[in-house]
Amino acid sequence: MANVSTIIKREYSTRVKKKSFIIMTILTPVIFVALFLIPALIMGNQDKEFKKIAVVEDGSDLFDGVIKDREDVDFEYLKGADVNQMKTTFEEAGYYGVLFISPVVTNVPQAVQLISKKQPPMDLLNYIERTLEQDIENKKLLAYDIENLDDILKSVQTDVSVQTIRIDDSGETKETNTGVSMALAYIGALLMYMIVLLFGVQVMRGVFEEKNSRIVEVIISSVRPVELMMGKIIGIALVGLTQFSIWIILSFGILTIVQSKVLPDDPQVISEQISQSVMNQVPAVENTGVVDQTVELTAQEKEFAKIFNNLMNVNWPLLITSFFFYFIFGYLLYASVFAAIGSAVDTDSDTQQFMFPIMLPIILGLFVAIGTMENPESSLSFWFSMIPFTSPIVMMARIPFEVPTWEIALSVAILIATFIGFVSLASKIYRVGILMYGKKVTYKEMWKWIRYKG
């Protein structure tokens, strides 16, 4: 055992000290945060300077004063102005652009034009469209000459939002949110997939390197081959845990700093983003539709409160414990298979033929996991969450939708049993493979190795 810990230490420290590890560990969260923030920054920092827009109509004056001034935009209605003339002179007159409304607008949507030198910002266009739409709708309704129209409209307006409430066996009810569960399922399954693949392949490379550099025989004259193999697998697992912890801490750290430093000009947006930061999935983009903010804010707040409430309702201890177990045993299972492959092959290109059969369940697992989010109770999901090679990924996608404890227990038990079986098979292949040079390895050959004695 002293030997195994010496091996673990070497595997860990050589990897953690590598430049590529340090760069990857620091850069990944930066890129991750950038992916979240850059779209938000682009939207948030868009052309905010004050604009004056001339509103011109052709012949009629239906829309006088319809478009209200906004904080950063003034709309000046120029009665009877000539569009063609305005087109050439608006810039000199100090206008950002000319909004031309043709009277056919009530029937032809394309009858409105915004003429400007620069590309107008998206939200300005949205604002104009919405205002005009509403106004024209109102005008059309008025044309029917219905009495008490306002009251009728008010009483007709309806808002439906389905609340999903699950009742468990004890009759206790719980409000759930499919969106939250889906997000958690997606994150869990994807993380599991990444871990297995990233670090499993590292195990394979490490074993291959030892065989290829011919150091392996020196080492196994001191320690058992299985000790060397397990030392490597555990060492790399610790590297993985270290990297993930740093990623999570750094991501949150950077997010918090960037939120407070980069977007301080609009306090409302920030306060909302902070209330949102619990659920980063809701992109900051939505909030820049500043127009209806005052109206929608309460609705949004309600929605956040709901999401937050649902997040609190998630069985976190179960989720985290399961993640932990599936991470450990899923990784160990795959890593032992990857170690066997690394030991059997002679050249890098030989790994390809053996990679395919392992990649298959991993990718299959991810596909089933994505299907699981659509239909968490399907029998396909059930079986794939029991089959050991796909269970870590699929079960992580099922757990947020609530899975009976016995199913999780059974699935983990099957996984552990399979892991034990595979480690012993893998270590047999490993033991022979690492000393076998210059031989093209086949499955038949590996099967022979498994049956070799001592």
Binding site: N3, T14, E217, V218, I220, S221
Partner: protein, 304 residues
């Protein structure tokens, strides 16, 4: 008294028999040569001693006890297929390898410094292995093999890849280790080094041990009644019934004659005869070289 003994060791792989009842006894504090053509089974035998593979039948004993994993701490093994982690620093790596043999960090460190200084490689401590030449790497491997002062040292083709100067240094170190009490087994194709260093040998050919014993005895057995006689000045000797003249060479005012005696001839009679013929400077049995013996034995085995 032998330190290591193998008895009827058999190892069968799926498609061939690697070792067929190989027995050998390695005397304490000897240098023991394990000879044989490529693929004869030498490496398999060494791996069995190091418990990298297990024999199908037969036993290996160390100091009279059946060998166990605990004994690995008192064995040092330099395999034929040897390498180092290319990206790791020399010092760190040497420390790691010796710690796996059970040395404490402190002890390993102080011994490493001593050896590195002795072999003049202390400047490489912080270099990466990939920056070193092959010969330099071999030196490091040698140091890590002997550092835990094992009582049994096993070298598989230790001189391959060494230049003559480093070979000489290595030979001196091996002799020094033997003097300090270690027993050494090495496998080699290099018959010159066998002549120079080995006390005992085993020759393995096609999975079987076909020759075993002390180098001196084996040479005497294979001497085949040949003698070298050196005369001062000129001497003329002709074949008679007692002996046959195989070869005569003259140089530097000396005459050397190789003769083969008949089965019945007494050595004393022949010596007397020689002294009659001229001034004898030396009279020696003409021992065959290990190289000759190797070739003759292996070829004879092939014809069986």
């Amino acid at each position: 008294m032998s330190l290591l003994q193998t008895e009827n060791v058999v190892k069968q792989y799926k498609d061939h028999l690697a070792l067929d009842k190989v027995s050998m006894a390695v005397p304490k504090q000897s240098i023991y040569g394990l000879l044989g053509p490529n693929g004869a089974g030498k490496t398999t035998l060494l791996r069995i001693i190091n418990q990298i593979t297990a024999p199908d039948s037969g036993t290996v004993t160390l100091d009279g006890q059946k060998i166990s994993r605990a004994d690995l701490a008192s064995i040092g093994y330099l395999p034929e297929e040897r390498g180092l982690y290319k990206k790791m620093k020399v010092g760190e790596q040497a420390l790691y390898l010796t710690r796996l043999k059970g040395l404490s960090k402190h002890e390993a460190m102080s011994r490493l410094k001593t050896w590195f200084t002795k072999l003049e490689i202390i400047d490489w401590w912080d270099k990466k292995v990939e920056e070193l030449s092959k010969g330099m790497q071999q030196k490091i491997q040698f140091v890590t093999t002997v550092l835990h002062e094992p009582k049994l040292l096993i070298f598989d083709e230790p001189f391959s890849g060494f230049d003559p100067i480093n070979t000489k240094i290595l030979k001196e170190e091996i002799l020094y280790l033997r003097e300090k009490g270690a027993t050494i087994i090495f496998s080699t194709h290099n018959m010159e080094s066998v002549e120079e260093m080995c006390d005992h040998i085993t020759l393995i050919d096609r999975s079987k041990s076909i020759l075993e014993g002390s180098v001196d005895k084996i040479k005497e057995e294979w001497a085949a009644n040949e003698y070298d006689v050196v005369f001062k000045g000129q001497a003329v000797i002709k074949t008679i019934s007692h002996y046959e003249i195989l070869k005569t060479t003259k140089d530097n005012g000396k005459t050397q004659v190789r003769l083969k005696t008949s089965e019945k001839a007494e050595v004393n009679t022949i010596i007397r005869d020689m002294t009659d013929k001229g001034q004898v400077l030396s009279f020696n049995p003409a021992l065959p070289s290990m190289n000759e013996i190797f070739i003759r034995v292996v070829e004879a085995n092939k014809n069986n």
